[in-house]
């Protein structure tokens, strides 16, 4: 058996041990703990707010535009990280390149702003 399979075996053994341990404890609790169901206890949130309506509801598709802009700037970071790591090696060339890259994104954001994509209504 190669080494790496052995490490999976450890994970598996841990998984089995955890399962046995939890089953044991829960079974023990079921045997010896007293059980008394009341109205209060059966609620969704015991001593909390009552839920109103369905969990599946419609919400404004406008959230999508914000999510989209978030994704753009989120993904930008993926290029910033390698640049940050090699900041000194890349020098001015890298800096100028990154400034241009971010400038293009800013133009996109500016466009979204001018087209009123950022307005809530």
């Amino acid at each position: 058996m190669p080494d790496y399979n052995l490490s999976y075996f450890y994970v598996f053994a841990f998984f089995v041990a955890a399962a046995i341990f939890i089953t044991l404890l829960l079974g023990l609790a079921r045997l010896i703990a007293p059980r008394k169901v009341t109205v209060e206890k059966a609620r969704t949130y015991e001593s909390g707010e009552e839920p109103v309506g369905q969990a599946w509801s419609r919400y404004p598709t406008h959230f999508y535009v914000f999510a989209l802009l978030f994704v753009v700037f989120d993904v930008e970071v993926i290029f910033l990280f390698p640049w940050a790591v090699l900041f000194r090696t890349l020098g001015w060339y890298g800096l100028v390149e990154m400034v241009i890259f971010i400038a293009i994104l800013v133009v996109g954001l500016y466009y979204a702003w001018r087209k009123k994509a950022l307005n809530w209504y």
């Binding site: 293009i104 133009v107 500016y110 466009y111 001018r114 087209k115």
Partner: protein, 481 residues
């Protein structure tokens, strides 16, 4: 710095696209948007002339980019197609309330992607180019946001396009795994050593072939074509039917002929069969269409088959590559023109004119009808048009490569195609205007740009030698010596 100069035309087009977006936000809401079209065309012209002056042949960006005669040739093709696509659009965009700035910017971004494909020397550059070319076009298909057909076209085009991209990418991953490199030159060397001996190479080849076939709309990967072309706004269809196809063939030439050339005996026969099936199915289904836009969509599938036949004849050498490039230009001019001619008819939504709605067009708009007829005759492949010359150039290498059966199928298909193209001409010229005819719109910009491209179709049909010589030159760096 020489790196930056190497991709100057691409940088210029990108800057112009950004500029168009910025200017668009500054213009008042109801301003004259014709200026944006002029700005776009001016920028494309700057990119066109900047190419020969600043770029020097060779590789750049650590071998990611390659500037050679093929790159230069393709740049010109893509820019010219983009210019025509922009010039025919303004009237339609204004009538249908499509944001003009976005339309031009999207066309420009897609053009940058197509140009990137042409200069790629690495799987990474190629993939980026393909995606940059296709993603804007998905949006272009859906530009008419309140139209059901436009949305449906965009949805279908997007889903199948994204699917094909992921097939292609997985193929690229395997190719990298098999060869240990992403650069075309070393890939060619590696596959030349091993051949198609093992399973992984076969998987890579199959996935890459399927992915590129989707992009070029080769049967059986063509299902998105008719709906996407039919439902998209007509000027967008004119662009979509030519530029992405030209770009897909640029990718096929770069990757299959350039990088995977040593496996040519394996994919060559597959492409030959696919080409035969593609042209035949495209033509047969086009016969049954009564809507001219949908008919042209199927006919563009058939033309993919002709171009693919030239690719399959890669063994004939430079003349095969030149035939592909020449056909791509010819197809670009005549197909863009034919779709753009549908802009003369004022029809609700994105729908194209039916045969009945064309009745009597020649009486009302003699010049428009003449250009339409020229494009259709060229698509059929009747002399003295560029369509005829292009077919001759395709058949020659196909015969040289020993694919006589394929040459026969091409000839038979040309006859089959004549029937449905000429039926449109009959409706244009030999039927009187009646209550079914669609109202006609006449615009100067549309007239002029269609006139120029119809003239180009005829002139190149009479004097093809200069362009063909240039195409031969462009095809030279693709084939491995």
């Amino acid at each position: 710095m020489s790196n930056v100069l190497a991709v100057m035309p691409e940088i210029v087009v990108t800057v112009v696209a950004t500029l168009v977006l910025l200017v668009d936000t500054m213009l008042p809401r109801r301003a004259e948007r014709g200026w944006l079209a002029l700005l776009t065309v001016a920028g494309l012209l700057v990119a066109l002339v900047s190419g020969p002056f600043v770029t020097v042949p060779g590789t750049a960006f650590n071998g990611f980019v390659q500037i050679d005669t093929f790159t230069t040739f393709s740049r010109v093709v893509f820019i010219v197609l983009a210019i025509f696509a922009v010039l025919v659009a303004p009237g339609y965009l204004a009538r249908h309330d499509i944001p003009a700035g976005e339309y031009y910017a999207i066309v420009l971004f897609s053009t940058v992607g197509a140009m990137t494909i042409a200069l790629s020397n690495d799987l990474i550059t190629l993939f980026l180019g393909i995606e940059l070319m296709s993603i804007p076009v998905y949006a272009l298909a859906g530009m008419q946001r309140h139209d059901r057909y436009s949305n449906e076209a965009a949805l279908k085009y997007f889903l199948l396009g994204a699917f094909s991209s992921s097939l292609l990418l997985y193929g690229f991953a395997w190719l990298y795994g098999v060869t240990g490199t992403t650069e075309f030159g070393p890939i060619a060397a590696a596959v030349a050593r091993t051949g198609l001996a093992d399973g992984p190479t076969l998987i890579a080849l199959a996935l890459v072939t399927a992915g590129l076939s989707f992009k070029a709309a080769v049967v059986p990967f063509h299902q998105w074509t008719p709906d996407a072309y039919d439902g998209a706004p007509t000027p967008a269809t004119a662009f979509m039917s030519v530029a992405p196809k030209a770009a897909a063939f640029a990718a096929i030439l770069r990757l299959m002929v350039g990088g995977l050339g040593p496996l040519g005996t394996d994919w060559g026969i597959a492409f030959a069969v696919l080409a035969a099936v593609t042209m035949t199915l495209g033509n047969v289904v086009a016969l049954a269409q009564t809507n001219v836009k949908r008919m042209l969509a199927y006919s563009s599938v058939a033309h993919t088959g002709y171009i693919l036949a030239a690719v399959a004849a890669y063994r004939a050498g430079d003349s095969a590559g030149a035939a592909v490039l020449f056909y791509v230009i010819a197809y670009g001019l005549m197909n863009l023109g034919a779709f753009a001619c549908l802009l003369y008819f004022d029809i609700e939504g994105t729908r194209g004119a039916t045969l009945m709605e064309l009745n009597g067009f020649a009486r009302q708009e003699p010049l428009g009808a003449l250009t339409f007829a020229i494009f259709l005759i060229s698509l059929t492949g009747i002399p003295p048009t560029v369509g005829f010359v292009a077919k001759v150039f395709v058949i020659q290498p196909v015969l040289d490569a020993g694919l006589t059966w394929l040459a026969v199928i091409i000839a038979l298909n040309a006859v089959l195609a004549a029937f449905y193209y000429l039926r449109v001409v009959v409706h244009l010229y030999m039927h009187e205007t009646d209550e079914r005819s669609a109202p006609i719109i006449s615009e100067r910009m549309l007239n002029v740009s269609l006139g120029v491209s119809a003239l180009a179709v005829v002139v190149l049909g009479v004097l093809p030698d200069g362009l063909y010589a240039w195409a031969l030159q462009a095809a030279a760096p693709l084939v491995l010596r």
